[in-house]
């Protein structure tokens, strides 16, 4: 294993002499090297550090004070209060206050207080650009990889060191390339693709980069692509990457970010890149998926589990409550009602999502069907906020993980599905193939 340690930082375009994957190219740039090889341990400069109210200030402050360093560069730090919002008791209120006070005292300009979930905030507010190295104090930091960023999650001590120094170490990962080909059928979403991949690839791809490509990925909008990158965390990967294209740049520019046309040619894997594995998923052959408790890898076609009675349907989280997710739910719920004895809870992923959904009529469809709106934030997904489950209760959720005890009582059951599947199941009171409801509608039309 070659150890490369450098403080050098170079912004100029370097010619990469050897074939490399996108992950290698970004790490080489961040490490100030012309090329890095999988297995190398490199010290990299961090372009953007992100943390939330649970992982950030409350765990950094005392240690930064003891080190006497302050933040290495407050302009490169984004802090988002999303886990304990809004406060439900004195402890969560204190955590939020600590976060606010820290942002003020340390001069953090990019502080989003109850504006939404951190992974959704970054692209919504123009923080992402292909080629960045992003360190986040949250496992789903991988989400930003949809924009061609090397975005990895780190624990609190790693993040404290990053906050103090602006650098960290990482092992250059091997890359697994996943080509998703074919045109998915109705109600088949990137969430279904990831639940199928959790089953097929398993959750043990520790330290790997997963790169998503193929015709089905090219056809996706950015919100759908973030689901691939987000749930790379469930695959165990270090980063999930999608090479930037016109769709990426258009999204960045529409959200106030900066991107250059050359980002598309610069931040892509070479055609002869050294992939560890290349595999193909045929989206055209895929049915909507649900994952049974207590693992996202416990997935199967929805038809296998159709009929399982549910108590709660939850549309929430960074992965499952973006505007497009609310649109999916509304497509099913328009003119329908939530079944008696079932509660449908919807926590839009950000304030902007709520606002857009209010303006375009989506919220009225959801509440008209009987949905109860919850605050934007991690809430029930993290087991911290409103919407938790009692012993023995069953929930179908659009979130990304269903580990035992995550959403309330340890003996509650959490199932995972797409917003289509969650909404369809809320209507019938049992796990339901959303294609049957939408087919009914198109026959009636």
């Amino acid at each position: 294993m070659r150890i490369v340690v450098t403080d050098a930082r170079s912004e100029e375009i370097r010619t990469v002499p050897k074939p490399a994957t996108l992950a290698q190219k970004i790490l080489a740039r961040a490490a100030g090297q012309s090329h890095v090889t999988p297995g190398d341990i490199v010290t990299v400069r961090v372009d953007l550090a992100m943390a939330h109210d649970s992982s950030g200030p409350r765990r950094w402050q005392a240690r930064l004070e003891a080190l006497g360093t302050g933040l290495w560069d407050p302009s490169r730090v984004v802090i988002v209060s999303d886990h304990y919002v809004p406060a439900v008791d004195a402890e969560s209120a204190a955590i939020l206050k600590t976060t606010r006070d820290f942002a003020r005292d340390y001069g953090v300009k990019h502080f989003y207080d109850m504006r939404g979930i951190c992974h959704v905030i970054l692209p919504e507010h123009g923080h992402l650009r292909p080629g960045l190295f992003i360190a986040g104090g949250d496992s789903h930091t991988t989400n930003a990889g949809a924009f061609g960023c090397y975005a990895a999650g780190f624990g609190a001590t790693d993040m404290t060191a990053i906050a103090a120094t602006g650098e960290t170490w990482t092992t250059v990962p091997h890359t697994i390339r996943v080509n998703i080909e074919g045109k998915p059928g109705g109600c088949v979403t990137s969430k279904d693709m990831m639940l199928a991949l959790c089953r097929e690839l398993g959750m043990g791809n520790h330290f790997k980069a997963i790169e998503f490509g193929g015709a089905a990925v090219r056809a996706m909008d950015m919100e759908a692509r973030t689901v691939l990158a987000n749930m790379t965390a469930e695959l165990g990967g270090e980063v999930g990457l999608v090479e930037p294209d016109e769709t990426t740049l258009a999204h960045i520019r529409a959200h106030g970010g900066t991107a250059d046309d050359t980002d598309i040619t610069r931040w892509r894997s070479d055609h002869d890149a050294p992939y560890e594995r290349v595999l193909t998923l045929d989206a055209a052959a895929l049915a909507p998926q649900v994952a049974a408790p207590h693992s996202p890898a416990n997935s199967a076609d929805v038809t296998v589990h159709a009929g399982v009675a549910i108590d709660q349907a939850y549309i929430g989280a960074c992965v499952g409550a973006k505007l497009s997710d609310l649109h999916m739910a509304a497509a099913v719920l328009r003119g329908r009602s939530v079944a008696d004895g079932v509660r449908l809870l919807v926590a839009p992923a950000s304030a902007k999502v709520t606002d857009a959904a209010a303006r375009d009529g989506t919220l009225a469809i959801l509440t008209g069907a009987g949905a109860v709106m919850l605050p934007s934030g991690c809430g029930a997904c993290a087991g911290l906020g409103a919407g938790l489950l009692a012993e023995g209760e069953v929930c179908l959720s659009s979130t990304n993980r269903n580990f035992k005890g995550r959403m309330g009582h340890k003996d509650a059951e959490v199932w995972l599905g797409s917003p289509f599947t969650v909404a369809a199941s809320a209507v019938t009171g049992k796990i339901t193939d959303p294609r049957s409801l939408l087919a009914e509608r198109s026959r009636a039309a």
Binding site: T69, D158, A161, W169, F403, K404, G408
Partner: protein
Amino acid sequence: MSGATQTGRAFVYGDGIDTDVLAPGHAMKLGPDGLARHCLEAIDPEFASNVRPGDLVFAGADFGIGSSREQAAISLKKLGVAAVFARSFARIFYRNAINIGLPALIFPHDGAVSAGDRISLDLAAGRVTNITTGKAYPVSPMPEHLRNMIEAGGLMESLKARFGAREAVS
């Protein structure tokens, strides 16, 4: 901790021990000591009261999958766990464990250790001995820079040295 051989009892668990099992969300608002009392409760309600300083945790694949919460590793360390052995580790858990000075070692020998076995660990020599069965197993050494970090007492201690901080950094 390097050099010394330590002896403890084995606690043995299966695959996929996730961070919600190690540090349950409902107890995350408690301080580190309070949270540690809930460590592993979903699969072993007696763990926190039974484990003693120096005991060792053995598990299967994917230990520490899930969230980035460092409390998952801190809870084990708080309870006195001297090292965690697993067939494989989730990346963030592995980094967190090393960063707080909790050795995390790959141990691919299914069935070599049963719950309650007395185990001795010699980190420097890279050897695990199951005193109960009398069998010894090599463990592959951690990369050098990670060993250095553990020997320095974890990442904060290394930083403290780098920045010359005088106060204790927890």
